[in-house]
């Protein structure tokens, strides 16, 4: 048994009224709603009483109809003023005098029926179904079923937006971290259980702590992959709050999880090991607490020729098969990359000694130095905090400059063999100062 309400221009009222009777509500259009009224007989009595109660609670002018199927109820509500109750089996008779335009459908179908002289639902329902199927196709057959009140379907229920947010207001303010984490752990457990029921995970947890006579304390846990482990969230939260604790007692806790589809991973039999994301995230949080967040991550070169320019980003899982040298290799055959070939790692027995490429060890920041040069400008002696060296051999200078349009830099670089090592030094020509940049190792 379904009820339909038709009240043009009062959509919020319609939805609110339908929600008072049933959670199963279809918002058909801005003027109509259909909802399930099965089971209301025990509360309100016969369908007439249910319809009267709906009409009474509606509070605005509108039509109410109850029928055995949603479409018949909707047609009756749109076409018959006031309250209409259609007993089962009497749909065709009651809908028969209603005008044909209530059916809707394509303009071509309406035009064809108009040419045939069909003006009411009853006239359309009386036509032979086989002839309708032959001339108007599937759409015509469906429309005829609607006109006769025999079409059945499920309600297209409105989907509430999923919100995973919980709040808790303790009786007294919480000043210590441990009881606060205890309360948060309970909320996190509930939210994770709710996400799990919906087969979802989260990639962001937002925590908001209302403090006593202090601005709100907000914490956001951004996760690299979707997760659903309340213990991991609690541990990350503990590390975050122990580093930056709230400045006053907590009056209210609010936690929100942003739902996303869960992570699906197919582990390969010969796949090299990689850190578990949950475990890695906790480890990284601990290391960040130890050395600072800006000192942990994957280095990423910045597209510039200025020396020592990089940024720290998050480490990524490798994309399997992205490297043509890795793709398709057999597990028992070691892969040799072009770089390794250059470096001679894959040399055969008796081959030439391998050659590796120089790596520079940088002094950060570059070490200021005092340099004595010959009349040709070649460095002969260097004095810095790293030591006092006599230059044995040198190569250079190589000029490097850039960014003339903004923060320009202009260097004169030298490679020198001095003291106990090989160093790269440079002369900053803008500030007329020598620096030891690093050592080749």
């Amino acid at each position: 048994m379904y009820a339909a309400i038709h009240a043009p221009g009062n959509f919020p009222v319609l939805v609110e009224c339908a929600g008072q009777f049933s959670p199963l509500v279809e918002e058909t259009s801005s003027d109509n709603v259909i909802f399930d009224v099965r089971g209301l007989r025990l509360i309100f009595g016969a369908p007439q009483h249910i319809a009267a109660e709906i009409h009474r609670r509606l509070g605005v002018p509108g039509n109410v109809a109850i029928a055995s199927n949603p479409d018949a109820a909707l047609l009756a509500a749109r076409g018959i003023a006031g309250i209409t109750v259609i007993p089962t089996g009497r749909e065709a008779a009651i809908l028969a005098p209603l005008p044909l335009y209530l059916l809707g459908g394509s303009p071509e179908l309406a035009h064809t029926l108009d040419l045939w002289g069909i003006r009411t639902l009853g006239e359309f329902a009386a036509l032979p179904p086989i002839g309708i199927a032959a001339r108007l196709g599937e759409e015509g057959v469906h429309m005829q079923r609607l006109a006769s009140g025999t079409a059945t379907r499920q309600l297209r229920l409105r989907a509430d937006p999923l919100e995973f947010r919980e709040e808790f207001e303790p009786e007294s303010t919480v000043d210590l971290l441990e009881p606060l984490l205890l309360l948060m752990g309970r909320i996190l457990n509930d939210l994770c259980a709710r996400l799990d029921r919906q087969s979802l995970a989260t990639h962001e947890v937002r925590i908001s702590l209302k403090l006593e006579q202090a601005p709100e304390h907000r914490v956001t846990l951004s996760l690299p992959v979707p997760m659903l482990d309340s213990k991991v969230f609690l541990k990350l939260l503990q590390l975050e709050l122990s580093e930056k604790p709230p400045q006053a007692g907590v009056e209210k806790i609010s936690i929100e999880m942003i739902p996303v589809a869960p992570r699906t991973v197919q582990h390969g039999l010969f796949q090299p090991p990689s850190p578990e994301p949950e475990k890695l995230e906790i480890t990284l949080a601990r290391i960040r607490n130890l050395v600072g967040a800006e000192n942990v991550g994957a280095p990423e070169l910045i597209d510039t020729h200025r020396p020592d320019r990089f940024r720290i980003s998050t480490i990524h899982r490798p994309i399997r098969g992205a490297d043509p040298l890795v793709r398709g290799r057999s597990p028992d055959r070691p892969v040799v990359t072009l770089d390794q070939r250059d470096q001679g790692i894959a040399r055969g027995p008796g081959g030439p000694p391998p050659a590796l490429k120089f790596v520079l060890r940088r002094f950060r920041p570059p070490c200021p130095a005092q340099v004595w040069c010959t009349s040709h400008g070649q460095p002969v002696r260097i004095h810095s905090t790293k030591g006092d060296w006599r230059v044995q051999a040198c190569a250079g200078p190589w000029l490097a400059s850039g960014d003339w349009w903004s923060d320009s830099w202009d260097l004169e670089q030298w490679d020198i063999e001095a003291g106990a090592g090989l160093f790269r030094i440079h002369h900053n020509r803008r500030i007329r100062q020598w620096f030891v940049e690093g050592e080749y190792d």
Binding site: S274, P275, F310, P353, P354, F358
Partner: protein
């Protein structure tokens, strides 16, 4: 029916399944390897080649950089997105703690501690228990634990010790057009109290300047 299988005399259960391929032969996984040598002896270059080999195999590496000396621009062949770089700002205690956490976390193909610029005395002050703990953390895993320093410190905790020394510096041409070509390095790999002598060249990347 139970069948008794013969036990091969001298059978030793194998704990590690594979090794890292390197210019100086296999580097054991699940064990501690020490790379030691003075400044400009090719230690960091050799470590860079290991990082390149491991990341090329789609594995993750962790580099614990005590003195913030790693230069990503000169690390040829290393997939930087698969390197976890931890900069410790000269604090060796933080470095050891971070190495311990990363070794415990598991999943890394290589965990390297770069103590190359740290004074020998500072590293020597670390108790032997630190190296035992680190060795124990990676035991029976696929992680190769590498330290780079000026001298070897871990004694029996390290399975392989690689002692590097710079033989000569190779220059090409004459000033003002002279180029630093590279260095010749001799390496002594000590494993189970037996030493093997190797040599390799370190060459400047022609694209680096």
């Amino acid at each position: 029916m139970l069948v008794a299988l013969p036990i091969t005399p001298g059978f030793v259960p194998r704990q590690r399944t594979d090794f890292l391929d390197s210019a100086l032969g296999p580097i054991p996984r699940g064990a501690l390897t020490e790379i030691a040598g003075p400044a400009s002896s090719g230690r960091t270059t050799f470590l860079g080649s290991l990082l390149a080999a491991v990341t090329a195999n789609d594995e993750f590496c962790a580099l614990i950089d005590v003195d913030n000396a790693f230069d990503p621009a000169s690390a040829a062949g290393v997939r930087l997105s698969q390197i976890l770089w931890v900069r410790c700002g000269g604090n060796i205690d933080h470095a050891i703690r971070a190495a311990d956490l990363l070794a415990q976390a598991g999943g890394f193909g290589l965990v390297a501690i770069d103590l190359g610029n740290t004074p020998v005395k500072t590293v020597h002050r670390l108790p032997l228990a630190v190296w035992f703990r680190l060795r124990h953390a990676v035991q029976n895993t696929k992680t190769a634990l590498i330290t780079v320093s000026q001298r070897v410190h871990a004694h029996s905790c390290s399975e392989l010790k690689i002692q590097l020394a710079r033989d000569r510096v190779v220059w090409r041409g004459k000033l003002p057009g002279r180029l630093l070509e590279g260095i010749d390095v001799s390496a002594q790999c000590i494993k189970n109290h037996r030493g093997e002598q190797h040599t390799f060249y370190v060459r400047r990347d022609p694209c680096s300047r």
